[in-house]
Amino acid sequence: MLRIERITKRFLKTVALQEITLPVRQGEIIGILGPNGAGKTTLFKIVTGILQPNGGRLVFGGNRQPRMGFKPERLFFPERMTFRQYLNLMARLGNIKPGERKTAVDEALLLLGLEGSGGRRIKEASKGMRQRLGLAQALLGDPDLLVLDEPTDGLDPAGQAEIYEIFRRLRAGGKTILMSSHRLGEITAVCTEIAILHRGRVIYQNRMSDALAERPKAVIHVDRPLTTLRPLLEMLHPQLQVGELTINLRGESIARRREILGIVLAAGYDILQIERRRATLADIYAEVTRS
């Protein structure tokens, strides 16, 4: 659908993005992660045409710019308008035919759980409702690509779960979503691909399933504190971490689990449990940003 190709963006002497290359495939939900100031919002503003890159280009599939819906991180609305008036305005700008506008607005309100709020003035809305309205305007008109900066900010857990479900349905319908979030759980729950930005560069990108599978973890639980064994165990492998009652194995250290178990059993410890876990996004994020 879209290929972000060697995009560079500078603000005076500050480099906000440096040669970012990222494929955005149709039907995927791509989560962009990164600390504050990593360049996520700048990247989104370039994709939506709000900012102009200093270098690189956006290559659109079929040489046609997809119809986009955009939810900025900070939401501002014409406060005196009602929800329905605002969505009508967006529908007009989105080229929705006059006969279909009311249906489209009703559907957007219904989808975001705002069906009873069409006549409510925006200035009277809570933060959560404003967030839903921001998403509703982005979804209006069935855009091909949704660019969502912190889409669930301000929503309660139930509201977040609703939004994730909407994203999954949209994906099933062939829509593409490019989103950012500081909530790693959210990214794990909904995204099919991730990219981690750090200081204006993409330092990691992968399919979510591959990312989680490629960094397995094993945890050995023992019955007594490992104080005396800790120095010996930690010398075996750099990816091995010894806790009070656990031995955490990551990456290649998992291959040495039999040897480790032998040492622990020989020292008189009892093995309570051996867990094999997939890595979490938090593990991956911590690892790649640290390195």
Partner: protein, 277 residues
Amino acid sequence: MMQRILTLTVYLIYRSLTSLSGLWFLLAGAVYYWLAFRVRTPEAAYFTLVIGLFGAGLTFLAVLSMAGKANEAISYPYFTRLESRIEFLTAVLAAGFGLALLLQLLLAAVVLIRNAPEFTLGQALEIPPIWLSANLILAVLAMHASDFVANTWSRVKLFGVLAVLILLAENFNDLVTWLAERLRTLSYTPSLNSTQQSFASSLRAAADFLANSQSAWLEETAGLIFWPFRAVINGVTNGTFSRLEALAPALLILAATVLFLLAADIFAGKDLVLVEE
């Protein structure tokens, strides 16, 4: 495209009328009427020029105000819906121009109802091109002056060039006369005459050249930019337009078109960093 431009135009006018700026414009109209038309019944030329001036000034302010509203962070999602940014730019122009024209016509109507001047048919027909062309060029200049359109030094360059042209058009001969006098005084200083006679005579020759030529062509060229405004004022005050003067409104519209294309070019290539408040 037309539908999107119309939607944004109506939206900007709505926002203006539901904010304090709409009230300010109405107030400005009332004050202007009180100052310019309260006492006497105007002549036709006075009516045309004074309400024309009001319309042009108000258009400048209205377009600046619309551009200010368009430059708010509310507009980010609108841009992603448009096929081209220029649609928004056109809407800003149309909204400011339309709102100011409405208030200008309102003021004219009040004057016509309360103390109407006597018009010939010819004088009445002169009014629309004069008012519309003046409003349009001020509207486009306001766009260049706004944060919404201006990019880095663009407005400094444009208004700097205009300022230089005004200076040249109004004061160039005075500057040349002053320079010629200075050169002549320098050429007659005793020390220079005794040691560097050839240089002193060159200075005198230059002073003579400047004094005689007065460089009228440069003043006229610089003044050409402002000729349409002078021609309109002359035509209205004289009560009749020469064939050349009759072209002035068309030239103003042409200049406005060129300036709008320049604004569109600047706007298309700039980063939209809208005001978040």
